[in-house]
């Protein structure tokens, strides 16, 4: 049997929310392998001078856990 591990990350983008969520995948792929799914659990933004300077997405990533 193979256990799946779930971690939570916050991605960001200056383009939009979809890009912020995809940023999480890009970052996660640098340290874990065998990612199988993601679940976006929050959408926020940081604002300065009435402009969104950073779109942000809280994302749960599921991946097949490998043993050392």
């Amino acid at each position: 049997m193979t256990a799946v591990k779930i971690i939570e990350l916050v991605g960001s983008s200056t383009e939009g929310w979809q890009e912020a969520a995809e940023d999480v995948l890009t970052e996660a792929a640098k340290t874990v392998r065998h990612i199988v799914g993601m679940d976006v659990v929050g959408w926020t933004a940081k604002i300065e001078k009435n402009k969104i300077v950073s779109y942000r997405a809280n994302v749960k990533i599921a991946f097949i856990a490998e043993r050392p």
Copy 2:
């Protein structure tokens, strides 16, 4: 008085989350008429080889129930 019925569907797209949610509307429109609103209750994605192969949206569709 006319009752409104609410059903839950999961739409998918290879393009993005907005398209996945709109896919639900396209599918629902094939079997029910008089859709009045939708509420996106979940955003997920299926991933293979570090790429999103399917954007998915859990959507509640409200439509005016017709009697047979």
Copy 3:
């Protein structure tokens, strides 16, 4: 110490959900200053004749409260 105030608004757009959420920022900026962040808490749509006529986003806006 400066308190931050949180208000809830519903934005709308005929283009898409990201535009609906950004619409909230545009509207809020007309009456409050020093907005620091936003949190999208709901994504809905109004539908007529199987078409989305209005994308809507429920958004919580955080801004630095000013005293009169």
Copy 4:
């Protein structure tokens, strides 16, 4: 064994919330039989010119599923 099915409907009334919830039962009884229970999960209202023009109740109806 007999499975029970749960559906969600929105009832409405110009009289009050109890009538809006009971309207769901009246509507549901036209298409399903053997309703055993209901659970009111939301109470809203539509307003025009400072008057409630429609009381609304989101109701989950449980009924014994019949096979075709």
Copy 5:
């Protein structure tokens, strides 16, 4: 200092939901004294032959705890 205790009861009525919630107060008053508040946390109904035979209300009752 006097601690307040919170208990949950389900009241019922053949008349309506308000009566079902008030039924909880009537019942609770038979065993506890110094009730200070109530919070209705659920509204359901039992149905037979397309009629509501019992309106029900889940209610949390707060009362000042007395020591034996």
Copy 6:
């Protein structure tokens, strides 16, 4: 585009919960215009000597925000 604003109020009545929720509408109509909907998010009561002395309803009011 016109943003909709959402505020939360607590109404009260000595008659019943429906009256408590409608009390919110009466009060809100004194300071804001163009109310379009309400959502009752809580039902409580204050009790003295085993009698409900005040029915209370927590209500979210949605209205079209006007600019000064």
Copy 7:
């Protein structure tokens, strides 16, 4: 694109909760095809004379929606 539909059922068994949840699958399979997953959202039981007479499971079933 193929939309997935989600329905909620309550299964029951005199044996145990796992059997109650599996009962939902047995019942659902009589009317819908292409079931892909299930999510158990509630575990309850009906009790008489201090014995569980019916284990119950609230289950959400996801299946590929077919068009007529």
Copy 8:
């Protein structure tokens, strides 16, 4: 009218979760009569040396309240 009371208990077992939930019924039956239903709201376990030493179930028990 007869009010139903709801209490929360935590049962435990060295065998499994179903036994832990049923343990609550066994314990509750020693002090209250006329139990009509139960709702399992949490499943946990205590672990020592990589073994589950105690399966635990948080259970809400509903019973017909008797007056002294």
Copy 9:
């Protein structure tokens, strides 16, 4: 096997929230024995003339149920 019972109390203090939560323990210890844990589920305060006159904590207390 020994069942654990969970009750909810509201403690209060004029000093602060930690004292309000601890007040629940002091009160509970007067009527139940073998308290094993507590879970603070709400923090509120009563205010008069812009001063907190009573810090309050909603607390769930778990104790080993004794049989009469």
Copy 10:
């Protein structure tokens, strides 16, 4: 009847969470009168160099709404 209004604020302090929540009261008292209660709905902190530089509390303030 007098409606109560509920607003959400975020207070901050360099001392601790209780001070952050009380900071909300201090700030709110500058613009609204007749505050009757508060409910702390979130506790967070901002951190720099492994030190908490700002304790923060999300607080809902209830006050008696005055008419202009």
Copy 11:
């Protein structure tokens, strides 16, 4: 003082849900030591041809964090 860390894993089994949850413990024990508890937060299943091919359990594991 010793901090406890909480991680989320998804276990699976072809036998049943209890086995799926215990599978998480087996997998977690391969990489972390000093596990003290687990909390099952979700029960799902993957289905093919009207049969459950994989029982799944989302489990939060608490263990005493060790420093490198």
Copy 12:
């Protein structure tokens, strides 16, 4: 773009809840760098002989993820 990672820890203290939450920060700082924020999601306590022997705080820590 830099992804932020979120982990959950349980801190403890014999002094109070604020110290328990700060304990999480002390522990986390031993293994991760660039912590930017924390969110306290639960407050509990372990009790023996009617005394709190351990204040506990469930805390989510956000930190800038570093790549190996």
